[in-house]
Each structure stands twice: as structure tokens, then as C-alpha cells.
Amino acid sequence: MIELSHVSKRFLNGSRLTENGRESYAVKDVSFRLEKGEIAAFLGPNGAGKTTTKRLITGYLAPDQGEIRVMGMCPRRDGRAVRRRLGYLPEHNPLYDDLTVFETLRFAARVQGLSGPGLKSAIRRMVDLCDLGPHLKRSVAVLSKGFRQRVGLAVAMIHDPDLLILDEPTTGLDPNQIHYIQQVIKNLGGHRTVLLSTHILHQVPDMCSRVLVLCEGSLVFDDRPQALLARGCTVARIGVAQEPDAVLGRLESLGHRATCLTQDPERSGANPFVPFTVEGNWTEETLADLAESLREHGWRVGECVLTPPTIESIFAGLTAGDGTACASSG
């Protein structure tokens, strides 16, 4: 469905140069392949090259190096044929404020070549799917952000495309609206390929069958969401009745990276334990060993809890520059 092979794209304005004055890349040597029916999350920090990659796939930009095939075609050479089978929701979801919702959908359907009964049924389908019925005659300018997003999604899907590219479709929405858009996207899987970028990471395992993580223009992860979660490390949380600096020094001497969790480490009589997190892939046994080695110093050790990894912590590890989810092993 989509195949990128060693694709690179330089920064357009040439303003971003590396320290040694060489040109740097918005996207560098990116290769991946998405099959029909996959819903892929395209993750990465701001400026990682996600939007550039999506523009390369839509044919809006041309790669400097490498090859892109979309449904077996080149998006530059066979641009119109590719765009007939592609739906795109750009970042910020631009719409014409002086048109009504119905006029917006009708314009998009006509540009996609629909007419007559086909046009009417396409609009009806989108109105039902995105629940736009009560707002059809309203101007786009007066819609809430959530409904604007639904209109943008309907515009992208009105011609029933095989490939849907969504750039941050849930940004700025309230939790109910996020849930609604999430359900719409989930229902699209199986029939068509969806490539979506989002900063709301906890949606990803539930919604997507594939995760691609881009960092500084390079692809640093490409696998199933379960594989991403498996890369995470269980962090230990321990409470020690001791001065924080002494505890941190001891943990460092044992080879662990730790953080004191309280801003005010003044211990009260009620709770003498200062909380710390210790990075590493901990198990019950290794954590018990750590607690024991602290007790050998005559320190009182309180709570010892294992904190499971979150997709946010794994993402932070992957995009921190070292390419790993775990900063150190336990």
C-alpha cells in the first residue's frame, strides 16, 4: 500500500544547518512499508519530520533521495491517480469559514469526481459516520473545534479512499470528542490503510496495529504497539528514611540512576520516608535485593513498589537520542 525506500528530504529553506555547516535533513533515510488495512501511528517529537514524511507520501513534496510507492504508483509521477485514492487531513485542519458544512462536503465530493446519486450518498454516509446531521446548514466558522475536526475528517474520507493520512486529528479536542474521533478511526481499520500522527500516546495501543517512531528525521522504531510496550522498563519506587543526598550517592555507587520525588525532603514525624524512583528493568527479586543492601547501611526502607512502563516513558526514552527505551538496566 505504502512503501518508502531510503527516503531523504532536506530542509526546504536551507536554514537548518548542522554545527559543521552541512545541510541537515527533515527526513533522513526513512524506509517502511504499510499493508492494506493497517492503522499505523506515526509518532515523534515536534520537528521530527512527521509532517514532511506525510507530505512526501501525498506528493505535496518530492524526496531528494529514495523512492516512494503509494498503491504501486509514484505520488509525483502519477499524482492525480494517487490523490484520487488518498484522503488527507492536514495539521490544523484548514477549512473555508464562509461555507456551510453541507457546502464544504459537496465541494470536496465534487472535486473528487462524485456527482448525482453517488454524491448524495457519499455526503449522507459522511454525515452519519461523523454525526454531522444537526450542523449541516451551519457555517464552518461557528463550529466548535470538535465539529470542525469531524468536518475535516469527513472531507478527507468523502470519496472512500484506500489510504487515509491524518495529521494530529485529535489535537485540542475534549475527552469526549477524542473518544469519538478515536472510534471513527478504529472503525476504518481493515478496509483501508490509515497513517495518523498524534501526541496523545495512550490512544495508540488501543487504536493502532502498528507504531512508527521518528526522531530527528530518522525512523527509530517500527513494530506493533505490544512490541513498543515490551521495550519499556519497570521502574522501582522506594521510600528511605534518610537524607536524600546520602541515598542518591549510595544508589549511584550501586550503579543505579535515581531521582528524589519530593521537592521538600523535610521529613515529618508522620512519614519519615523520602520517595525515590530508580530507573532500570526491575523485578520483585532485584528490588528486594536493593532494599536489603540499603538496610545493611542501617537505613529504614519503607515502600518498595514496581511501576509498570507507560507508553509516554518509552516514547521519551526512544526519542531521547540514545535510541533505547531503558536508560539503564536493573
Binding site: R55, Y60, R83, P94, D98, E103, F107, R110, V111
Partner: protein, 227 residues
């Protein structure tokens, strides 16, 4: 052609939904009345007793130099600013469809504005013996001049995200091509010749060539946005 028509209709709808543009259009349509009847100069019909639309057609190039940029400044600037151009270019449209659609949409509105001034020749003809040759020549020349100005203004507007910038650069560009010292390339002088009723096929080709040249450049600018 269907895609060009769709873009043209959208462009017309944007202009007709804009209160600012409707007000400008009204001023344009009433301008012949101001130039012919309220003008204190010698071309005032009441003062000169001479029934002709010369005063209107003499001032028309200057009028179009301001009116056409005001009409076209939104066409690309707003699309560039809002990001709608990216969405439009993700549809199965070519840059040519977009450029021609915007041109014909704006041109249809210009034709409408010029047509709305048509009652004035009939009004003037009631006041005396009006020579219809220069009037028809004037309107033909006005259409050609308006089309050429529009092609130049759309080309200038395609570079920017800001409507005031589009307006100012278009006015400057039109001032240059209107007041160009090389007679063969001067839009203004050729118009005055057509407006006197002297229709030369070379003038018609000249205006068509100007339109095609700037539309071609405009298509290049839009296509370059997909780079």
C-alpha cells in the same frame, strides 16, 4: 473543465460573501456616474454638453489598477495563510486547474461589475447623440485590460500569505505595466486605442498574450509549491 468550474464557483462565492468586496464593487459600479456627472472637470457631461463616455474610459485603467488587486488579493494569500492550499493540492487537481479556476472566478466577477455599469451608456444616449462605436470598443478594451490586470495581480498574490502584501505588490506591478515606457508593452496606451473604437487584431492578441503569459507563470508558482 469541470474542476476549473468548481474552483471558479468557489472563488465567486468567496467574493460575493465578502462585505468588503461587495462595498468595493458598488463603488466601482457607481464610478461612471461620479466621473460623468459629478466630475467638476471639462469631461462633465452637463458642463461640456458632449455626449460620450470618454471620461469613464480615460480613468478606467487607473480604476482597474486598484480594483483588480483588491478583488484578487484574497485568492492565494488566504489559501496560503490558512493552509487550504495544501488541502486543495491533496485533491486530484492540477496546478493548472487551480490557476484557471481562480482566474475565471475573479474574471466572472469583473465582467459582472463592468456589466453593471451598462445602464450609464443608455442614460447618456438619452441626453444626446451617442456614438456607440467607441462605447462598444471601450467595453471590449475594458474586458481585455481587466483580464490582463487580473492575470498580473493573481501572479503577484501567489507568492504571499498576507492580503495587504498581495494588494500592494499587485498595484506596484500593475503601475509598472500600465505606465511602461516601451509603447509595444504598455497596457494603458493600447487600451486607449481600443477605447476610441480602433480595434486592431494585434491589440487583442497582445492582451491575450499577456493573460496567457502571467497565467503560465502563476501555474509555475503554484506547481513549485509541490516541490
Amino acid at each position: 473543465m469541470r474542476l476549473v468550474w468548481l474552483i471558479a464557483r468557489k472563488e465567486m462565492s468567496h467574493l460575493l460573501n465578502s462585505a468588503v468586496f461587495c462595498l468595493l464593487g458598488l463603488v466601482f459600479v457607481l464610478m461612471p456616474a461620479i466621473l460623468l456627472f459629478w466630475n467638476p472637470g471639462p469631461t462633465n457631461l452637463f458642463l461640456s454638453g458632449h455626449t460620450s463616455l470618454q471620461a469613464f474610459f480615460q480613468q478606467l485603467p487607473i480604476l482597474l489598477m486598484v480594483f483588480v488587486p483588491a478583488l484578487s488579493m484574497r485568492a492565494y494569500a488566504e489559501e496560503n495563510r490558512s493552509g487550504n492550499l495544501e488541502r486543495l493540492l491533496s485533491f486530484p487537481l492540477s496546478a493548472g486547474h487551480l490557476v484557471l479556476g481562480k482566474f475565471f472566478g475573479c474574471f466572472a466577477i469583473l465582467v459582472g461589475c463592468l456589466a453593471a455599469t451598462a445602464p450609464f451608456p443608455f442614460l447618456v444616449s438619452q441626453m444626446g447623440d451617442l456614438d456607440w462605436g467607441p462605447v462598444l470598443g471601450g467595453y471590449l478594451g475594458a474586458l481585455l485590460l481587466a483580464g490582463s490586470c487580473l492575470a498580473v495581480a493573481l501572479f503577484c498574490g501567489a507568492f504571499t500569505k498576507r492580503q495587504p502584501t498581495a494588494f500592494i505588490t499587485s498595484v506596484i506591478a500593475l503601475a509598472v505595466v500600465m505606465l511602461w515606457r516601451i509603447p509595444a508593452l504598455n497596457l494603458h496606451d493600447r487600451f486607449q486605442s481600443v477605447a476610441r473604437g480602433l480595434i486592431d487584431i494585434r491589440d487583442l492578441f497582445f492582451y491575450l498574450a499577456v493573460m496567457l503569459f502571467f497565467l503560465f507563470l502563476n501555474q509555475g508558482v503554484v506547481a513549485h509549491k509541490r516541490h
